[in-house]
């Protein structure tokens, strides 16, 4: 554990993962989750696991945000309609 690169990557993951739990609004949570995915990929690279890092990048950088944001949009839509009708 004396490699500063591993320590930096671990600290970044711990920070962004804590933030992903602490943020309450789902849309903002998806933003933190996207950053967490990138940081996790960096950690896997630093630990010499490029295959896992590639999986994390492929899933975490665009697919997960898209799924979450589409769900948020579906859940929010009726509410917005009511507001415009009023």
């Amino acid at each position: 554990m004396d490699d500063p690169l591993i320590v930096v990557a671990l600290l970044l993951v711990a920070g962004s993962a804590t933030a992903a739990v602490a943020v309450r609004d789902p849309a903002r949570q998806a933003l933190v989750l996207a950053v967490l995915g990138t940081v996790l990929a960096v950690l896997f690279t630093v630990l010499q696991a490029p295959d896992v890092a590639l999986s994390q990048l492929a899933v975490g950088s665009a697919l997960t945000p898209l799924l979450i944001m589409l769900s948020v949009r579906k859940v929010r839509r009726p509410k917005r309609r009511e507001e415009t009708e009023r």
Binding site: A58, L63, L70
Partner: protein
């Protein structure tokens, strides 16, 4: 069960689990040690079968049965999504309005789409040589197609994405994996055995059945993700409950 009893049961279970985990952690090898008994054996086996990327050898040869399980999980979960997110009787489809996209963004999306599809196919094809493989490349190909939704609008995406044929291709790719496994049983020794000639080390055709199983997984994942996103997009963009205008 009252709330207090439930909490008590959970506390007992949680304490036991924590104690076991802590005890297990003390017996782990140290972080970053130089003794890798599994790693050495895996590397030796993958070199003997002419597969340059050891991870691909583990995924599609030495532990190919595990990958079959993982593929079935993805297949089943996409199937579940299709059933759950189908259009019900009290819902109707509304045509999505076209989105006004700024010209640089539209150009970027249309330019990057073929590059991303090509990169995904490259990642699948080089799975047994360099980091990557069917899962990663398949996700990239499927994500790339959705640049049409992001850079143009949903109708442009629907034109190149007949969901029915992607569902069929998903099932076909899943069966191709099974058939390759059965071929190993017929031609070789066991289910999912590597029965093809191993080829020249570090070339595209090396590794026996590894590239074929890899390609099957790539197709399965790409089609599964397209179907998954299609159902989410339908729900978010098109399908509305009766009474909503």
């Amino acid at each position: 069960m009252t709330r207090r009893v439930r909490l008590l049961v959970m506390a007992v279970g949680g304490t036991g689990l924590a104690a076991l985990l802590v005890a297990a952690c003390f017996d782990l090898p140290r972080f970053g040690g130089d003794q890798h008994p599994y790693g050495d054996r895996v590397v030796r086996a993958s070199l003997a079968r002419h597969t340059a990327n050891t991870i691909a050898s583990v995924n599609f040869d030495q532990r190919a049965f595990d990958t079959l399980g993982e593929m079935s999980i993805l297949f089943a979960s996409v199937l579940g999504t299709v059933v759950l997110l189908r259009q019900t009787r009290d819902e109707h489809r509304a045509a999505p309005e076209p989105e006004q996209v700024a010209l640089p963004v539209r150009r970027y999306a249309l330019l990057v789409l073929p590059v991303a599809v090509l990169t995904g196919l490259y990642v699948i094809a080089h799975g047994q040589l360099s980091p990557g493989g069917g899962f990663q490349g398949g996700v990239v190909v499927a994500t790339a197609l959705h640049l049409l939704y992001l850079g143009a609008d949903y109708r442009a995406l629907e034109r190149i994405r007949p969901v029915g044929s992607y569902e069929v291709a998903d099932a076909l790719a899943a069966s191709a994996y099974l058939v390759l496994g059965l071929a190993g049983l017929v031609a070789g020794t066991a289910f999912l055995a590597d029965f093809l000639p191993y080829g020249t080390f570090n070339t595209l055709s090396s590794g026996g059945t590894v590239p074929l199983l890899n390609a099957a997984i790539g197709m399965e994942v790409a089609c599964a993700v397209v179907v998954l996103l299609a159902n989410f997009l339908d729900q978010a963009v098109e399908i509305e409950k009766e009474g909503e205008t």
